[in-house]
Symmetry: C2
Subunit: 312 residues, 2 copies
Amino acid sequence: MFPLTKQFEFPEPCCDCKNFIHLCNPHLEKMKEDILYHFALGTGTHDFPALFGDVKFVCVGGSPSRMKAFIAYIAEELGLESSGCDYPNICAGTDRYAMYKVGPVLSVSHGMGIPSIAIMLHELIKLLYHAKCSNVTIFRIGTSGGIGLDPGSVVITRESVDATFKPQFEQVVLGKTVIRSTNLDEQLTKELMQCSIEIGQFHTVIGNTMCTLDFYEGQGRLDGAICLYSEEEKLQYLKEAYDSGVRNIEMESSVFAAMCNLSGVKAAVVCVTLLDRLEGDQISTSHEVLVEYQKRPQKLVGYFIKKSLGKV
Amino acid sequence: MFPLTKQFEFPEPCCDCKNFIHLCNPHLEKMKEDILYHFALGTGTHDFPALFGDVKFVCVGGSPSRMKAFIAYIAEELGLESSGCDYPNICAGTDRYAMYKVGPVLSVSHGMGIPSIAIMLHELIKLLYHAKCSNVTIFRIGTSGGIGLDPGSVVITRESVDATFKPQFEQVVLGKTVIRSTNLDEQLTKELMQCSIEIGQFHTVIGNTMCTLDFYEGQGRLDGAICLYSEEEKLQYLKEAYDSGVRNIEMESSVFAAMCNLSGVKAAVVCVTLLDRLEGDQISTSHEVLVEYQKRPQKLVGYFIKKSLGKV
C-alpha cells in the first residue's frame, strides 16, 4: 500500500493548503480516540479545539524550566499576564514534557536529542491537527556550541545538516533508512534576522546548524568518558564543518525541520552559542552569564511574535 | 594518534581490571578540573570521592519522578530511610537530569532516547571514575513495548539489537560511523532471572531488546503524525523481530550496553512491557495499572540489591 521506495525520500508536505496542519497518516482517520501518551492528553478526555484552537505560535526548547520562563516572558511582552503570574503545566499528568499556553502562544519542552524531540513533535503535530489550528509557526529556541563565533552569538539556522554536513535527516522506518529534507522557511529566517537588527542587543548570524546524535564523540569533544581521536583530528573536523557553512552544533534541528516540513508547518531554529568549540569543549562560563545568553533566542522570537501581532 | 580504523570497531574494555571504572579517554588526565555540565557538578566544586565513593549500584531510568520513587523504595527495603523521608536531588542546579542517593545506591534519570541517555552516561561514568568507585553494577530499569507477551511482563535483556535485529550500536564519531558491541553480562542476567523466580509476583522472560531511534515510525506504530506504511507491513516487521528473538522494544539499551561495555562496568537492562505491539499501538491501560507495572523492574532490581547485600 505504501511501499518504502525512493518516491518517499523527499515527499511533498502532506497537505492541500499551507495554512492548515495536515497529517501524513491515513490510519488516524480510523481511530475513535487518540491518546497523546507522552503529553498525558487525549481526544477522548480533552476538548482540543477549545483548549488549543487559537494557537498561532509554538515555541519548543529542551529545558522545561526555560519553557516555563518563556511563557512568563511572552505573556508580559504581549500584556497577557495571568493575575497570579502563574502558568499551569498543561502536561502535569506526566514528567516527560512540560507545556504552557498564553493567548496564541504555546511553549513546550522537548528534552535532549532527536528521539526525544521527535516523540514530542509527533504528538504536538497531532494536537494542532485535532485542534484545527491554522497558520501556525513553530520555533525551536535552544542552546548550542558555536564554531568561530563569540560565545553569546545567536544563530538563525539556514539549513540543518547532518554529521557529514549534508542537509538531510536519516529516518529509520521499519528497519529501513529513508532520507528526508531538512528545508526551513527562507522568508521566516530573513524576517527573524531583521528582528535581531531592530532589537540591536546581541550578535546574530544566519548559518548552517549541524545536528548530531551525541554531545561528546559526535561533536568531537575531548572531555567525554570515551574519546579515541586526537585534538588535531577534532580541530580538523570542526574546521571542515566551518568551511561547509556550519556555525553551530546542536542535537534536535534536523528532525524538527524534517517533521515540520512534511506537515506543512512554517518553522525556524534560533539557538544561542554557549562557547566557541574551536577554543574548547567545557562550558565553564558563569551561571549568570549563561542565563543571560539563554534569554537571547527568547527575546528574538518574542519580538517576532509581538511584531507579527502588530504590538511593536 | 587514534585513527578511526577497523581496530576500534569492537574495542576491548579500556581497563586493566574489571573492578574499577576506567575511562577510554587519555585526554582527561590533562584537565585540571572536569565540569559535568548536565549534572551541574564539577571536580573543582564537589568532592566526588566523599560524595559518591561508596556507590556500588546505579539504577537509571527515563523519568525523574520514577527515579525519585525508586530511591525511596530502595531506602525502605535496605532500612536506610531518611528521617524526613525526603531525598534531595543532587542535580538540583539543572533540570536536565535528576539524581538521588541512599547508601550504596545511586538513582539517575536519563530522559528519552539514545542521545539523552548517552550524555548522562558520559557524565555518570566520569563521576564514578573521579569518585574512585569499584565493583559497580549499573541497571537500566524502564518501560517498553512488548512483542507476543502479556502487558506487565518483565523482560531482562539478553542482547540489545538495532532496528535490523543486529546486536550492535552505530556510533557516529567525527562524522564517521563506528560499530560497537552491545554485550551485556550473561551471569548478571541469569542472577536477575533467579531473583524474579524467588519473588514470584510477575511473569519475567530473558529475551532480546530492540533499541530504536524513534517511538512512532521507528517502532512501526500506525498512530504517529507521519505513517507511510500499511498495517500489514507493520505486522510483518514486528513478526520478523519476534522470530529473531526480540521480546520488547525501547529506545536506550544499545548505547547503554555499548558504553558500559567499553568502560568495563557490569550492566543489565530490565524493562516492563506496557502493551503487546502485536495487538495495538496506543497505551490505553489505566493510570493505576501502568503505575503498578512500572514498579516491577524496581522490585526486581531492588530484590537483587538486597540479596547482594545479604539482606534477603
